[in-house]
Symmetry: D3
Subunit: 159 residues, 6 copies
């Protein structure tokens, strides 16, 4: 069963925004990342860096549609300690994505699949669902992952 | 008291220069960073990376005005071991900056403030001054920072 | 088919040896790691660190039987640039290990399995074999891994 | 108002447990960390490392009371992919801790304070509470932190 | 003796391709890097990052001629677990390169030299050759490097 | 000319002290490292780590004689934000060290040499001196290093 399909495409209107932080409480980072995702960031990640005078710093990276530049800047300037933000133009090539359900001993679970030129190249169990099953059924998370992957592969063989 | 004011602006003529270093004495890094700052780099930072054959390397990054590309290249080629430099075009959005003096038990100290669309969004004690006070008065650096920040906040409330 | 079995055990005579390197050509690291493994190190790994004056450094770590301390020191002092080595006492709890062969479309391949208190808790395809199959049959490495894991799981279900 | 007080003390029965992971899905890390905390770990953290053949790995670290070694091992062996765990003996010096409430524009909030030889040396707003206030009142998290810290400092001056 | 010479030049048709990996077996990384080099990548390196939910991830970076974008994408989509690749335009300034042979106690060995505006700015012994000599003659690798560098410097003085 | 000689020895009374910092301004790190060195630390270094809730943290490490534990704790508790310090016992094997002067085009410069069982295994130009020469004579730092190393090697050959 497939209940979602996005076409493979290239988006040329993306920005990578970066801010170097060397004087910010690292405790705030996950809060800020969540807020940027909430406001529409496609991806947010932090790169550990070494800044001037050997300071251990963090480079905040935000991948976002060019149209949302202002919104992201508002969050970064208000929530971090940076005095400047730089951004560069980027293109994103995204695979077609499909969510499929596979049977497992704990009921049907979702697999996210990626297609390149019509061919299945990626598949991954949905983390949130597997985590929930692992907690509920007291089974190691890796066992849940293995079982979902095995069942997805079986299903592919039959189809 | 305010004794400096730079307007908020966007600079579209910036470059991010990068050189991957996998065969250089890491001891030289801070010297090279200082030299790049001296010659006009806006920012310099190092990213720990893993290069081919699993070598732990360093990616040197220089943020600089496009007009200074040649000067930066001269430093990087003469001081590091790289055989190539790559660069990408970037825009920088910089806040309006203001330096204010606040009273503290150890005399007046400077706070650097940042303004986004006319609104105060950042403020930070000047590291060098606080470091000097901490050494001179034998007081923890974090206590100096806290005191400067508290006094800046009090002053803002009154104004 | 099982052709090897080591008992689960705890070894209390292990050392963790550490040397901080801030002035060594990183290009030499993999050579040095290989040499330490050749001389009997149980594990060797490198931790990126920040040393005095903000130098990006590497902490070399060697896990080894206490009886081989001298041999490891000879390699580290002769091959790296350190002037000192520190070491701490450690215990190692190692799982029982078993190598099993599973059938795959590319012939039988090896899985390394780990047992804790008699129960299977780990299994992993042998990297070298999978890498060879991936190259020889022009198939993605991850596909080889998935297939080996799937077949191992099937076999477990039947037994 | 103080509603909790733990004495400053040294605990000599601690272990630092370590497992190097070079073949595990990094997606599972936070789940595993949470589980170790749930079972009584004092601290859990991950160190990015470079392992043999230049593999980017993670060293899982667990700080725990020696009496809980077995419980931690059960989690690590069942949830990660490691075939071995090493551990070293450690002592922990912990400050006296006190939770105090301070008034803020958003109501009373908690500050965790640390005392060394009877003297206040640390204080920090409780992250969870500040995060909640920031979301509820649509105010930057750093503003909440600053306000809590300022009020705690004021209160200290008066007492 | 010089047996190769490439002119110093700037190449404006380069791409930096990036894929963030937070759910991939790190064991596969060196295999994938090798494959990208085989298919024509100019450079490949991995940056340790922190992704959403605090996951330790890896950012794969590929520097490549714009004309090889499709080939690189095929490798990345088939061999990694990413659902998207981003790329940015970059220019590369590459030094003139020359390979010279110098006499050493173990026979002639190669030095790679780099020239900026006609002036020698870099020179480095060839790793593979030095590694082989170190193994064959049971001499520390750093001694081989030092000897090659010393002989190259002597030769430069005389010429 | 040799003007200093320390014997090769093993010191079994060392401690490795560690404090995890996830809520401290990284700007303070180098100040704190300097202070610990001033008070007698043998080595101080920082390891980038990932802490609970995916926070990017720093693990401060201090290598110090067991007799100075209290002094180091005073600095760490007063200058950082940690509520606890852990420490483990370690042994340090230190090479015999010798400082030698070698002639260079810029006058005599110092080389630090290390001896293992009476045999020269390490030598390194003194950073501070080379840095000063590089600045004064406007010559790349790496050229100064190369020249010092070459002259030291020549001298060794003759003696």
């Amino acid at each position: 069963m497939s209940f979602n399909h996005r076409e493979e495409h290239i988006d040329d209107q993306m920005l990578i925004m970066q801010a170097n932080l060397d004087d910010m409480n690292p405790e705030w980072v996950s809060y800020i990342m969540d807020k940027l995702f909430d406001r529409g960031a496609n991806d947010v990640y932090v790169v550990p860096i070494i800044m001037k005078k050997g300071r251990p710093g963090m480079m905040l990276n935000v991948l976002v549609d060019a149209g949302r530049l202002g919104e992201m800047e508002d969050v970064i300037f208000s929530e971090t300690t940076t005095l400047g933000i730089r951004y560069i133009h980027a293109s994103c090539h995204r695979l077609a994505r499909d969510f499929e359900r596979v049977d497992t001993p704990w009921g049907p679970l979702t697999v996210k699949a990626g297609y390149h030129q019509g061919k299945l190249v990626q598949f991954a169990p949905e983390f949130k669902e597997c985590e929930q099953i692992a907690k509920q059924h007291q089974v190691p998370l890796k066992v849940v992952y293995d079982e979902v992957r095995r069942n997805f592969m079986e299903k592919q063989k039959l189809s």
